[in-house]
């Protein structure tokens, strides 16, 4: 009997123009969202490629110059321009340390609009001053991007609700419900069956739309089946959660209008209110440690260290490298640089505790706030999508650490050579340290996010069973 009703429901839906409208609407929205994401990712990768090409060109030019200088084909330039001097290479030919986009980066902008995706650490300068913020119009950051994550988090639940809010009530309003329930059939199973059918149809529409959009914009989801499956799984669970919410509200047996209002209220609470309340209270209860105070501590520590470093070097030498002795006949042509490194080491060591303390406090704050995501399925989905896209805060923190580590590698490539008073040779360019980005170190939030969503599913199922038990048939049938 149940099979029968489901079969007719299926035929009914097929003839309904709703399904077609939904498919076209959703496909259109998804294509637009993926296009926006693709544009951002393409810009990001294009600048990285451009930078790397520029770097390669400069390398080749410098190698050629060194070659002709060594063969005395060119007059020797001033010391501060000489490509054979290691300090000039370390300063003028920095490597591009880039954060390549993950295969599914298009799905979620995440934090990618706040931070830069490449840095060029030089032989001189502190990691602290390496800027990571991206230049952008803050209005754009405030409004956010129209990406697939936005579509899934905000719009998808509304589609689910629009597709299911009156499944029970419309039958009741037209009087068919009494007839149906006169059959040997359980209300719970019948409603669940009807909603499951809709869930399958909508999920297929969503999955097909996402895959079509990804294909249109040339995202190799087949090659990244693992990530694509994770994406689809996450979105499917989220859709299912909203169907179950709708199921629960339908079971209360109210009229269509009242169902719609209640469901919208639930949506507002889960998608708009809970995240913003959590976000605001998290800032009050676990405030981000103050940067302004950190700046002060940093400057105090630095000033103190500089006084100590003055014993090693006169201040203006550090600030004015161009006044370094230009005389290369003396024993080591890099002695000024080596002295400078020594001085900046003293300074860096004394300010490091201030930075470490700050970062520790910040990490603690963020891990507290991260736990609060389990309070709303919308936050869980956002977190999971950022994780898959490689645009989560953790990814950017990891990248910053990679840059700082590479800055050190870069300097330590030159220091021993400078002590040996070596010169740069054309063939050395191939041996310069390089950086290749990997996000393997970033701990994945995905499993926890999925579990969190499944927990919400279980809660809703339990809730619907409780409502079903409490609500008598008569209640549901009465108008």
């Amino acid at each position: 009997m149940l099979n029968h009703t489901i079969k007719y429901e299926w035929l009914n839906l097929l003839r309904d123009r709703w399904v077609m409208i939904l498919l076209i609407l959703f496909l259109g929205i998804t294509v637009f969202a993926v296009r926006n994401g693709k544009e951002k990712v393409e810009d990001r990768m294009a600048t990285i490629t451009k930078e790397k090409e520029k770097m390669g060109k400069l390398d080749r030019k410098m190698a050629a110059d060194i070659d002709s200088l060594n063969k005395n084909l060119k007059p020797a330039p001033e010391a501060w321009k000489d490509p054979r001097a290691l300090d000039n290479i370390g300063w003028n030919a920095p490597r591009v340390v880039a954060m390549d986009a993950q295969p599914l980066a298009v799905i979620s902008t995440g934090q990618s609009d706040l931070f830069t995706h490449y840095a060029k650490p030089k032989i001189y300068g502190e990691a602290y001053t390496l800027g990571f913020s991206e230049l952008s119009n803050p209005v754009q950051l405030l409004f956010g991007s129209f990406d697939l994550a936005f579509v899934c988090i905000y719009l998808l639940p509304l589609l689910v609700l629009g597709f299911s809010y009156n499944v029970l009530s419309s039958e009741k309003e037209s009087g068919v419900l009494r007839l149906t329930l006169a059959q040997p059939i359980s209300l719970y199973q019948w409603l669940l069956g009807k909603l499951l059918l809709r869930f399958f149809i909508l999920t297929i529409i969503v999955v097909v739309s996402i895959l079509i959009s990804l294909t249109i914009f040339d995202i190799d989801w087949l090659g990244n089946r693992g990530a694509a499956t994770k994406l689809i799984l996450l979105v499917t669970v989220y859709i299912f959660f909203w169907f179950l919410i709708s199921f629960l509200i339908n079971l209360l047996g109210n009229l269509s209008g009242s169902n719609a209002v209640t469901l919208i209220a639930v949506w507002v609470v889960f998608v708009l209110l809970i995240p913003s309340i959590i976000s605001q209270t998290a800032n009050s209860f676990y405030p981000v440690p103050s940067r302004t105070i950190m700046i002060h501590e940093y400057r105090e520590a630095k000033a103190l260290a500089e006084k100590k470093a003055d014993e090693i070097l006169k201040t203006y030498y550090r600030e004015h490298p161009e006044y370094a002795p230009k005389d290369t006949t003396q024993q080591n042509q890099y002695s000024w640089w080596l002295g400078n490194f020594a001085a900046s080491d003293v300074i860096n060591q004394s300010v490091q505790p201030v930075l470490d303390d700050y970062n520790e406090a910040l990490n603690k704050q963020q891990s507290w706030v991260n736990r609060l995501r389990f309070l709303s399925p919308a936050i869980l989905l956002q977190d999971g999508l950022n994780d898959l896209a490689g645009t989560s805060p953790a990814h950017y923190t990891d990248f910053r650490n990679q840059v700082i580590a590479f800055a050190d590698t870069w300097r330590h490539y030159f220091i021993p050579r400078m002590f040996n008073n070596e010169k740069m040779q054309a063939e050395d360019f191939g041996e310069l340290p390089t950086h290749s980005y990997s996000s393997a170190q970033v701990p994945s939030h995905y499993p926890a996010d999925l579990m969190g969503l499944l927990f919400f599913l279980t809660l809703t199922v339990a809730g619907s069973m409780w409502v079903y038990r409490r609500n008598s048939f008569e209640n549901v049938l009465s108008v």
Partner: protein, 471 residues
């Protein structure tokens, strides 16, 4: 007649559980938002004044130094937080709070709060403006979507007509019936906000006039939503359809349009990346005078010219310290380069702003959003204004340092030291925000768009109800 209908509408709305629950929730949300924002505001302000004190004492107590070293040591400008940011925090979360002021370099504001927060903050915060701009329109839709459809569904619309009530009077009654509940919620919030703001110590720039203007803007925004709600309700036969349509309108204007406009603005007028921007500046700097580089061709040219002007044949014979002079000339040159590039950046930003201004014709949310931020001094223009003031202060500070070095030391004498007499001659950084007249002038187009929305939505409502069928 209008008031009778309004009273009937009000009684009906108030009697309904839906209204009571949502109104209480809304009011509670607004109160919570006000309280949380107030505590946030107070703590940020405390940090701000402490930081200001700190940098001043750092500057004053830096000890004996070469003036140019002092210019390198530099200082910080901290962006003040204005009382009304308690209502609308605008883009403040995404702009830095401090600018490092040093010789040779214009720095961007650093440490935007959003960068130190988790991705959760991207959902938005529960600040009063969030409730005022997103949730209140939903509330209007919720209580008004069936204003006409209900009458039509139950057949009372026909009855009313037979009584000889003009549709326009009926509509105005219903309009008031929606506007008054909104006012009942808005007025206590307004009074509370005024009390809060007046009681904040050191409330600086707060003016009751600005708060009133802000609420005026929001009331116009609500009037637009009431017009749209009644317009849609008068068009459809079924409440359900009216509700879904209104929800779609809300979603498009409040959620989708801002994002779509952003996509368009970004596509048409993209910002350079930070590294690109810095490199363009570096290229220009290299071409010109480098104050720190006596071997630079431009520097050589200046040297020749100066020597000729003073009729001497070496820089040692100049009546001032050539190093200090050269550095100040270089400083002027780099300041010009920064000015040029920031001007280019500003052009991009102005172009993007114009995109938002034109898409505002498609969403009443956009002009309201921009006006609200502008009145609260938390919009991007305010940030630019502050950054420019900080840059002017930087130029002045570095100029003073180089000038002192040129006047009081000899060429090559890098051991010359200045002391707190010079440091104290540099006044503390003071920033006065643009006057409200300027703010209003900058936002005339937003104001006009919002008023156009009000008039056009009234006209549409009028057109719809006069043609309205009773069945």
């Amino acid at each position: 007649m209008i008031f009778k209908i309004a009273r009937k509408e009000l009684t009906e709305i108030v009697r309904e559980g839906r209204f009571r629950i949502t109104a209480i929730t809304l009011f509670a949300l607004l109160l919570a938002a006000l309280f949380v924002s107030k505590s946030y505001y107070t703590s940020v302000n405390a940090q701000h004044s402490e930081a200001k004190k700190n940098v001043r004492s750092e500057w004053m107590e830096q000890g004996q130094k070469n003036p140019h070293s002092a210019a390198h040591y530099g200082t910080y400008a901290f962006k003040p937080k204005y009382p009304l940011s308690l209502i609308d925090n605008g883009v403040d979360k995404y702009t830095g709070v401090s600018i490092y002021l040093e010789a040779h370099k214009r720095n961007e504001a650093q440490y935007a709060a959003a960068q130190d927060q988790t991705a959760l903050s991207r959902f938005g915060d529960l600040t009063p403006d969030f409730v005022l701009i997103f949730i209140v329109p939903l509330f209007i839709i919720l209580i008004g979507f069936n204003a006409f459809t209900r009458e039509r569904e139950s057949g009372t619309l026909r009855l009313l007509k037979s009584q000889g009530v003009s549709t326009w009077k009926l509509t105005m009654g219903k309009w008031l019936g929606l506007f008054l509940p909104v006012l009942f919620i808005a007025i206590p919030v307004y009074v509370l906000a005024a009390l809060f703001l007046a009681n904040i110590k050191d409330y600086g720039q707060f003016s009751l006039w600005a708060l009133t203007l802000l609420f005026g803007v929001y009331l116009i925004y609500y009037a637009v939503f009431i017009n749209i709600t009644l317009f849609v309700s008068s068009l459809f036969k079924k409440s359900n359809v009216a509700f879904v349509t209104l929800l779609g309108i809300w979603m498009v204007s409040c959620l989708a349009m801002p994002k779509i406009s952003t996509a368009i603005a970004d596509k048409l007028y993209p910002y350079p990346t930070q590294v690109e921007f810095e490199e363009q500046i570096a290229v220009d700097k290299k071409k010109g005078l480098d104050g720190h580089n006596p071997w630079n061709t431009e520097a050589k040219k200046l040297e020749e010219e100066t020597l000729k002007k003073y009729g001497v044949d070496s820089v040692q014979q100049l009546p001032f310290n050539w190093d200090g002079f050269l550095m100040q000339e270089g400083e002027k040159h780099t300041a010009d380069i920064y000015f040029k590039h920031y001007q280019l950046l500003k052009d991009t930003y102005v172009n993007q702003t114009n995109v938002y201004r034109s898409t505002a014709a498609l969403s009443p949310f956009l002009p309201t959003r921009f006006l609200s931020m502008a009145i609260c001094r938390t919009d991007y223009t305010s940030h630019w204004d502050f950054a420019n003031a900080a840059e002017n202060y930087r130029i002045e500070l570095v100029g003073k340092m180089n000038g002192d070095m040129a006047a009081n030391s000899k060429y090559g004498d890098w051991d010359y030291l200045a002391d707190d007499k010079l440091w104290s001659s540099v006044p503390d950084f003071q920033y006065e925000p643009a006057s409200y007249t300027t703010v209003i002038r900058q936002n005339t187009s937003n104001l006009i768009t919002l008023l156009a929305w009000l008039l056009l939505s009234f006209a549409a409502l009028y057109g719809a109800v006069t043609k309205m069928k009773t069945i």
